[in-house]
Symmetry: C2
C-alpha cells in the first residue's frame, strides 16, 4: 500500500488516485487531494491520496486522542461499525499482518490498507457463497483463495476447514470471520514463504532461527 509520501508513478496509476503533478514543474508541486483536505491534512494522521472519506471518518472516530494511531481495541470498534464485530483473535491477526515494525498500533495508511483488503475479501466471500448461506465450504474456499492468487493444496484446505469450522454444524464450512482469518493466515504465510523462495521454486530453505521467527508471530496470544 503506498503511503502519502510514496506518490504513485505514472506506471502505477489507478483511477482512485488523485491527478499526477505536472512533470514539467520543478520542484514538483505537492499532490493535490481529490477530496476536502480537512480529512487528512492538518492532522497527524496521513492517509494515502484517494482514501475514501468513509475510511478516514472510521479511523478518526476511534482515534479519539488524535494521536494518529490506534490499538487493537480501537480497531475492533472501528471494524464493528464498518463491517462486523470480529473476535479479538481475528483483530490481533489483522493488526499483526498490517502493522509496521514492532509497534502495537497502526496508523492511517495501514488502517486504509486493512479496510480496503477486508472490503475485497467481503466481496469475494459474497461471490463464492453462491447459495447466500453466510458460509463457504471447502471447494468454495479453494476457489476463493485461488481468485486471490493462492493455490492452496487440498490437504491444507482440509486442515484449515477442520480448525476454523465451528463444531456441531451439519457441514464443514466457514463464516466470514473464519474466512477472513483463514485467508489472512494463508496470505501472511505465503508472503513469508515467498521472501525465502525468491526464485519461486516452490521450496525454501530456512534456518532454525528463521523458522521460529516466521511462525511465532502468527501464534496469536
Amino acid at each position: 500500500m503506498s503511503s502519502f509520501n510514496d506518490y504513485p508513478s505514472r506506471n502505477h496509476y489507478t483511477p482512485s488516485a488523485p491527478p499526477f503533478p505536472d512533470p514539467l514543474s520543478f520542484p514538483p508541486r505537492p499532490a493535490q487531494p481529490a477530496f476536502p483536505p480537512s480529512y487528512y491534512l492538518g492532522q497527524p494522521a496521513q492517509f494515502p491520496p484517494g482514501t475514501h472519506p468513509e475510511i478516514i471518518r472510521s479511523f478518526s472516530a476511534v482515534d479519539r486522542d488524535g494521536s494518529g494511531s490506534i490499538d487493537e481495541g480501537e480497531l475492533q470498534v472501528a471494524l464493528s461499525r464498518g463491517y462486523q464485530r470480529f473476535p479479538l483473535r481475528t483483530v490481533r491477526l489483522l493488526m499483526f499482518l498490517f502493522k509496521r515494525g514492532s509497534s502495537s498500533k497502526i496508523g492511517p495508511s495501514e488502517f486504509a490498507a486493512l479496510w480496503s483488503c477486508l472490503g475485497q475479501w467481503r466481496a469475494i466471500f459474497e461471490r463464492f457463497d453462491r447459495d447466500r448461506s453466510g458460509e463457504i465450504d471447502s471447494s468454495e474456499l479453494r476457489d476463493a483463495l485461488l481468485s486471490l492468487g493462492y493455490a492452496v493444496p487440498p490437504s491444507v484446505l482440509q486442515l484449515l476447514i477442520s480448525k476454523y469450522d465451528e463444531g456441531g454444524r451439519r457441514r464443514a464450512a466457514l463464516n466470514f470471520d473464519s474466512f477472513v482469518e483463514c485467508g489472512m493466515i494463508v496470505k501472511g504465510l505465503t508472503e513469508k514463504f515467498k521472501e525465502k523462495d525468491t526464485r519461486y521454486t516452490g521450496s525454501a530453505t530456512l534456518t532454525y532461527d528463521a523458522f521460529l521467527l516466521i511462525i511465532i508471530p502468527f501464534l496469536v496470544a
Copy 2:
C-alpha cells in the same frame, strides 16, 4: 512414551518399568504389573507400565463414560485438579502436541506422557524462578529452555516474551501458564523442524505445502 504393548527391551530398561518376563520361557508370559492390576487391567484404558496411580486416578475421574479417551474439556478439568486451571488455548495446544493422528481426544498413554511432561516443566519453572515470584524473565526462560535441550536464540526469546507477557506488568516475564505454552511451542516446532533437518545441519528445506501443513496446526483456533 512406550505404551503397554511396547514392552521395553532389555536395552531400554528403566527403574519404573515392571520386571522383565523370563527370557527362557516360551511363549513369554504376559508382563506382570508392579502395582495393583485393577488400576489399568480390565479397563479399555491402557496405561504404560509404571504409570503413577495418581495419573490413572486423574484420568479415570474425568473419563466418566469409561470410553478410554478424553476431550479437551475433560483434560482441562483433570489438569485443574492436578496442576492448575489452564486457559482452553493452552489445553488445546497440549492436546494437539500429545494426541496421535487426527483424533480430537487423547487416551491413557498420551495423558500419562502429558502429565509427566507438565510435572517436569513445573519442576523446571520452580528451579528457574529463583526469587519465587511466580514468574520467570527472559534470561531465566533462556536457561530453562536450554535445560530442556532447546538453544533458543535471543531474538526468538524476545519475541516469545513479548507475545506471552501479560500487558501492564512492571517487567517482561512469564507465569507458569505462559511458560508452558511458550515451552510447548518451542518443543513442538523444534521437533517439526528436526523432522526436516534429519542431518542436524541447522537448516531445513520445505516445500510450500509442507510449510503450511507444519504451521497451521499450531494456530490454535
